[in-house]
Amino acid sequence: MKGDKSKAVVGVFTYMDDLINAIKKVKDKSLDYRVYSPVPNHELEDVVYPQKSPVRFVTATGAVMGLCAGFALAILTSMDWPLRTSAKAINSIPAFVVVGYEWTILWGGLATLGALFFFCKIPSMFSAIGYDPRFSHDKFGLVVGCSGDTTGEVKELMISSGADEVEVRDGL
């Protein structure tokens, strides 16, 4: 998918099956592309991004760290300020489970948020090349990076797949 991507051919699709056909053709030609969709969809996912998202690894790491931190906070601070009540042990592990449990969720959740931002590249102040406001409403978008010489071929590919509109813009 390397090479000259000085031009971006933007296709607007109404129908998902047309879009999927176009994506398959673009993949066959080993061109670089982006897909915009108003909704997530499993069929589209199978074609565009069949791998599993790495977000879950970050989540698991955050959750384990939260569990350790929760118990560590309760244990270490209890040892620092020993307050014996009702003949209970200074380090009452069952009582500390609540803190460990809540921090597992808290840290896991915040790690997930961080991973989401990182992998989705948000917040982003830059406009995406080829993006059209209709892609958040009811249309699907396919943006293909190619050289100036091959724009005609890519346009033809999209039109033959059923694109409603095709236009050429500067680089992907």
């Binding site: 109404t14 129908y15 998902m16 099956d17 047309d18 982006r34 915009y36 108003p38 909704v39 997530p40 969809n41 499993h42 069929e43 589209l44 996912e45 565009v48 991004y49 998202s53 977000v55 879950r56 989540t59 906070l73 601070t77 209890s78 300020w81 307050l83 009540t85 209970k88 009452s92 009582a95 500390f96 609540v98 803190v99 449990y101 809540e102 969720i105 808290l106 896991g108 959740g109 915040l110 997930t112 948020l113 991973a115 989401l116 931002f117 992998f119 989705c120 590249k121 948000i122 982003s124 102040m125 995406a128 993006y131 406001p133 209709r134 892609f135 958040s136 409403h137 009811d138 059923g162």
Partner: protein
């Protein structure tokens, strides 16, 4: 789903974005009423700060009174938002789609409201931060064996995760609003709040994965938060509190009251903004069934408490459960029992499960009943402790009423502002359950 066949992506956009059109006179009136009640609540609280905690009805031995009752009530209201958004998401229950955004907003704003009450309850509210574990010059730490501290962790985690879940769910919908914004102010507001979301497929892939994980994390929170709140009571030895049934009883009660509040909020919204195509009778039928089930659990818990008290042969427990239906606050018990156990039984009648007017009235009765449930647990138990010599009561003052009234205004204010500025029905997720538009072969229903 027959109703969904008539709905397409464009109609979903149109119906939901219509709610974001410039505010009407009625909206300003509603906001004004909310602000007025917030003002009344703030005045009462400032008076309490000025004159001391005695301005409320607290008197020995009922030192937990109106404020903790209201705290538990609002935490309960907050509960079903996460149930509807997270638990039902994991179960792929489609009926959650049109209602979950409002339920999540309700969760976040109800926790914001609930969080005020432990602070209002304090004699010196400016020291509220002493509950936080932070290194300080006194070289001491809070007691991690106390359920009150567990509450700090549980409620703050719940607020953080619920707010995160809520905001993450909003991002793609705010992007829709951004792309349709007609005024410069809204364009800037939504551009900032959508964080540059474009809906590229790479983004969707990570988004759906993260959303599933948020749901998986939020689900145990549904169980843990109100269980922890119940331990504020159950871990003590006060008659009427010291019961192992409290965690499931509190969780079921919270879901019960939360679903009722969702119905209270969604019915006027549906009517005013013409959302009948999105929020259909099937959704009300599903919510009614949820109310019926949780009402059954709550009713069973009430009866189990009486049975446990009798079976324990403990005179203090037995007296407490005689005092509740026949003592000084018997009226509160019977309001609770009628609203939470008897009236919901009407939902066994199928036509009433989809009768909008009936559901609206019933949901208000349930909200009242659930507030009284907490009133009974907290106040009745504290009023009749072990020693008759220290029995007492709670002298409800107008400061209590004012702050309670103010809390509804505070909650309402956030809801009214949210509904006008952000999509209160989930655009993307409703689109997800519609058949994907296809030239050949109709479409796949996800």
């Amino acid at each position: 789903m027959a109703e969904e066949k008539k709905v397409d992506y464009a109609l979903v956009n149109r119906l939901v974005l219509k709610m974001l059109e410039p505010p009407t006179f009625g909206w300003y009136v509603l906001l004004g009423i909310c602000l007025l009640s917030v003002g009344i609540g703030a005045f009462c609280w400032s008076r309490q700060i000025l004159y001391g905690i005695g301005a409320s009805g607290k008197s020995h031995p009922a030192m937990w009174g109106f404020y903790i009752t209201t705290f538990v009530f609002w935490v309960g209201i907050a509960h079903s938002g996460t149930l509807i958004s997270a638990v039902l998401y994991l179960y792929r229950a489609k009926f959650r789609m049109p209602i979950y955004r409002l339920a999540e907003a309700m969760t976040v704003f109800a926790v914001l409201t609930a969080g005020l009450f432990p602070v209002i309850h304090l004699g010196r509210p400016w020291f509220f931060y002493w509950l936080m574990p932070y290194p300080n010059q006194m070289a001491l730490w809070p007691n991690f064996r106390s359920p009150l501290l567990w509450d700090v962790f549980a409620v703050s985690t719940y607020l953080t995760i619920s707010a995160t879940f809520f905001i993450v769910g909003l991002i793609p919908d705010i992007a829709v609003a951004r792309d349709a914004a007609k005024t410069k102010f809204r364009k800037i507001l939504y551009s900032i709040c959508s964080l540059g979301w474009r809906g590229s497929y790479t983004q969707w892939k990570h988004y759906t994965s993260a959303y599933l994980l948020f749901a998986a994390f939020a689900t145990p929170l549904v169980v843990s938060v109100h269980s922890v709140v119940s331990w504020d009571f159950a871990v003590s030895i006060v008659p009427g509190w010291h019961a192992t049934i409290f965690p499931p009883y509190f969780v079921a009660g919270a879901i019960f009251s939360g679903v009722a509040m969702v119905i209270t909020l969604i019915i006027p919204l549906r009517k005013v903004y013409g959302l009948e195509a999105l929020v259909t009778e099937k959704h009300f039928d599903a919510m009614s069934k949820l109310i019926l089930v949780t009402s059954g659990v709550v009713g069973y818990s009430y009866l189990t408490e009486f049975y446990s008290a009798w079976w324990s042969n403990n005179p203090f427990e037995r007296y407490q459960f005689w005092f509740r239906p026949f003592g000084h606050y018997a009226w509160a018990f019977w309001i609770m029992f009628t609203c939470n156990v008897i009236l919901p039984l009407l939902l066994w009648i199928k036509p009433l499960r989809t009768h909008i007017g009936f559901l609206f009235v019933l949901s208000i009765f349930i909200n009242i009943g659930m507030w009284f449930e907490r009133f009974n647990i907290i106040l009745q138990s504290l009023s009749r402790d072990f020693l008759p010599a220290q029995w007492g009561g709670y002298n409800i003052s107008w400061t209590d009423y004012g702050i309670l009234f103010g809390s509804f205004g505070w909650f309402g204010m956030w809801m009214v502002i949210f509904i006008k500025f952000f999509p209160s029905v989930a655009i993307t997720e409703i689109k997800e359950i519609l058949p994907a538009p296809k030239r050949h072969g109709g479409g796949e229903d996800h």
